[in-house]
């Protein structure tokens, strides 16, 4: 689905800058923490912090109201959110029968455009920051979710698939002294 772009396309170049920076960051974290699980955790945490800001930007720019249901949420993330910030529109698929879990197929995945994963790094979820972004962003719209990668083309899988599972709806804080 990647759109052909001329070499000077500012959007494309700007995504490239993001991709390169992200790559350098992952490399640095691997150096710092030496443990891939820990790197995954750090990336997720960083993504969460980005997500809670990104969502405000998204809401202000897209002028969307609250989603009516989880399916609409999924479509909005894929078609509007990813498009706005990464210029891709992942496919929403693999809904669980109870409708509380779905998958996003990231093809192409702009984060991994120039990346080859070393063979000894099979535990690393290279794009894990995206899981954190989704969790942080949805938490701000009162949806607690879990997000994780189930497959990754970097590891030789045929697709890069993120699962997103609804956990619960969060309520506004009750004022002090009331119940």
């Amino acid at each position: 689905m990647s759109r052909p772009s001329k070499p000077g396309d500012p959007r494309k170049v700007s995504t490239e800058l993001f991709t390169l920076t992200y790559g350098a960051l992952v490399t640095q974290l691997i150096k710092d923490y030496e443990d891939e699980q820990e790197v995954n955790k750090q990336l997720e945490k960083m993504g969460y912090n980005i997500g809670i800001r990104l969502i405000e930007d998204f809401l202000a720019r897209s002028n969307t109201g609250r989603c009516n249901d989880f399916r609409e949420t999924a479509e909005t993330i894929a078609k509007v959110g990813f498009r706005m910030f990464l210029n891709i529109a992942p496919v929403v698929t693999n809904w669980s029968p109870s409708g509380d879990t779905f998958s996003l197929l990231l093809d192409p995945n702009p984060l991994t455009e120039f990346v080859e994963l070393p063979e000894d790094k099979y535990k690393l979820n290279y794009s894990n920051i995206l899981c954190g972004v989704i969790r942080g962003a949805l938490e701000m719209v009162q949806l607690e979710v879990q997000a994780w990668f189930v497959s990754d083309q970097l590891k030789g899988d045929s697709s890069t698939e993120m699962r997103v599972k609804f956990i619960r709806k969060l309520e506004d804080a009750v004022p002090a002294g009331e119940d």
């Binding site: 609250r66 701000m140 002090a176 009331e178």
Partner: protein
């Protein structure tokens, strides 16, 4: 005429308070006033939701007394903007939305030195807010 503005985050912290033509001095310490205001908003929303004969989308919008009008706008992320004006001011939800998009998002969300869950300390934000408010036709 605009009297004052409160912004609450979704955890009920008053991250911003500003006033312009408020004549009545606060009879309570500020933090107590914020707490009361948040408490009232919470009850108002719950009141409206229960009383509404149809499903609400935005729910509570504003109320008016003999002396002022309280306007309310809540983003899907739970940020709550409350502006008190004189009673002759009409529907200003679009203005509050702009305040959110053009001032809060630009100068708080995009400023890494502004934590989202603490009172806003950025002078730059406050300057921008002041300019925005004073340029409003009903200021």
């Amino acid at each position: 005429m605009i009297f004052n503005l409160y912004i609450f985050d979704r955890l009920g912290t008053c991250v911003l308070y500003a006033e312009w033509n408020r004549k009545k001095p606060a009879n309570l310490p500020k933090d107590e006033e914020f707490q009361n205001m948040y408490g009232m908003l919470f009850s108002l929303r719950s009141f409206v939701k229960r009383l509404s004969p149809l499903d609400c989308k935005d729910g509570f919008l504003n109320y008016q007394t003999s002396k002022y009008k309280l306007h309310y706008y809540e983003t899907p992320s739970g940020l709550k903007l409350v502006m008190n004006t004189s009673t002759d001011v009409g529907d200003i939800r679009e203005t509050l939305r702009q305040l959110y998009g053009q001032i809060y998002v630009e100068y708080v969300v995009k400023n890494p030195l502004c934590p989202l869950d603490k009172p806003i300390t950025s002078d730059f934000f406050k300057d921008k807010l002041e300019t925005f408010i004073k340029a409003l036709p009903f200021y």
